[in-house]
């Protein structure tokens, strides 16, 4: 799968400031079509309305966490192939293992920098 800067990206986080930070970093990387959602439920609704090329999601949100969103996306035939990067403060080994088992494409631990985000996005699309 090739990296296409025109593809729509969905940023999921319950913290508006973090959405703003990731949105600005993505713009700096050249992405133009960036949408956002405040939790997994809203993200899933949006994903059913529109085909996103990449989902960047936080883990800890209510009512639906990023982990639950990931599992639901992977279980949905029409969404299951969507690249999914977890960006979270959850840095315990069991979190990373659970995310990997659930089918996450990459995992970024907060706080992170622009270079890390860029590297992980590129890694997802070079696989």
């Amino acid at each position: 799968m090739a990296l296409d800067l025109q593809m729509p990206v969905l940023v999921v986080d319950d913290y508006k400031t973090m959405i703003r930070i990731i949105r600005n970093l993505l713009k700096q990387l050249g992405f133009e079509d960036i949408d956002d959602a405040a939790d997994g439920t809203e993200a899933l609704e949006k994903m059913k309305q529109r085909r996103y090329g990449l989902v960047i999601s936080d883990w800890n949100m209510e009512p639906m966490t990023g982990y639950e969103l990931l599992k639901q996306v992977r279980a949905d035939g029409s969404l299951s192939k969507t690249p999914f990067i977890m960006v979270t403060a959850e840095s315990k080994t069991e979190n990373v293992i659970a995310a990997k088992k659930a089918g996450v494409n990459n995992y970024i631990v907060k706080p992170f920098n622009a270079q890390t985000l860029k590297g992980k996005i590129e890694a997802v699309f070079s696989d």
């Binding site: 400031t17 703003r20 930070i21 600005n24 713009k27 700096q28 883990w59 800890n60 966490t65 982990y67 639950e68 403060a89 959850e90 840095s91 315990k92 080994t93 069991e94 979190n95 990373v96 293992i97 659970a98 990997k100 996450v104 990459n106 995992y107 970024i108 631990v109 907060k110 992170f112 890390t116």
Partner: protein
């Protein structure tokens, strides 16, 4: 000694105190506080004192010791200043934390707005652009002054936590409460959600796995994950 003689040794006013206490509290539908229980114990032990002193001096000594212990407990509870904690200290600490969240959010928004203005600025006129950047930099420096205020607020919260810690620790030590007396912690719905959805929150420095470890886990297979447990 006959039973009637023994009962005669219970002073009438002591019996009346027990009856008064029970009368006063009979309509409270189970809403009895620790203070009430201790008060009843005091009244009961006082009432029984005269009665039992004629029967068994050892029992009298026991009751005296119990009475003394109840008095000491009352003193310890008053030293705990629990009402001050729940009425003032803890709500004040909560307000300080709310103010910290608000201040950091405001500062972050101000800084991000300034950065976004610089990112989106027209660079065709270097002089105008330079002036805009200078002004926005001053705005960023000003916004960073939040750190001084939040630092002071955090100190107040830490002071409150220390205040609570000192009093609770002292209370536990003085009452000689053994660790195994702690009631078992039952899992709340929130606890269950956190366990099932693996919600730990941010880890302290040195805890959790680093981005490099995560990269190794994401790039490798089970063997790389196993290495983390070696």
């Amino acid at each position: 000694m006959k039973r009637r003689d023994l009962m005669a040794n219970m002073r009438r006013e002591n019996v009346a105190r027990v009856i008064d206490f029970l009368e006063e509290n009979k309509n409270r539908e189970g809403e009895v506080s620790l203070t009430d229980v201790m008060h009843l114990a005091e009244v009961m032990s006082g009432s029984m004192f005269d009665f039992l002193s004629t029967v068994q001096p050892a029992v009298t000594e026991e009751l005296t010791a119990i009475s003394r212990e109840i008095g000491r407990m009352k003193d310890e509870i008053s030293q705990l200043r629990a009402n001050d904690m729940t009425g003032n200290k803890i709500p004040d600490a909560g307000r300080e934390l709310d103010a910290i969240v608000e201040a950091t959010e405001n500062a972050t928004n101000t800084i991000m707005e300034a950065a976004e203005d610089i990112m989106g600025a027209d660079t065709s006129d270097p002089a105008v652009y330079q002036e805009l950047v200078s002004n926005k930099m001053i705005t960023i420096f000003e916004a960073c002054t939040f750190q001084d205020i939040t630092g002071q607020r955090i100190s107040k919260v830490v002071e409150t936590l220390r205040y609570i810690d000192e009093r609770v620790t002292s209370f536990i030590e003085r009452l000689r409460i053994p660790e195994d007396l702690d009631a078992a912690i039952s899992e709340t719905d929130e606890d269950r959600r956190k366990r099932e959805l693996i919600l730990h929150g941010p880890q302290m420095t040195g805890e959790g796995v680093s981005q490099d470890d995560i990269d190794a886990m994401m790039g490798g297979g089970q063997a790389d994950i196993d290495k983390l447990f070696d």
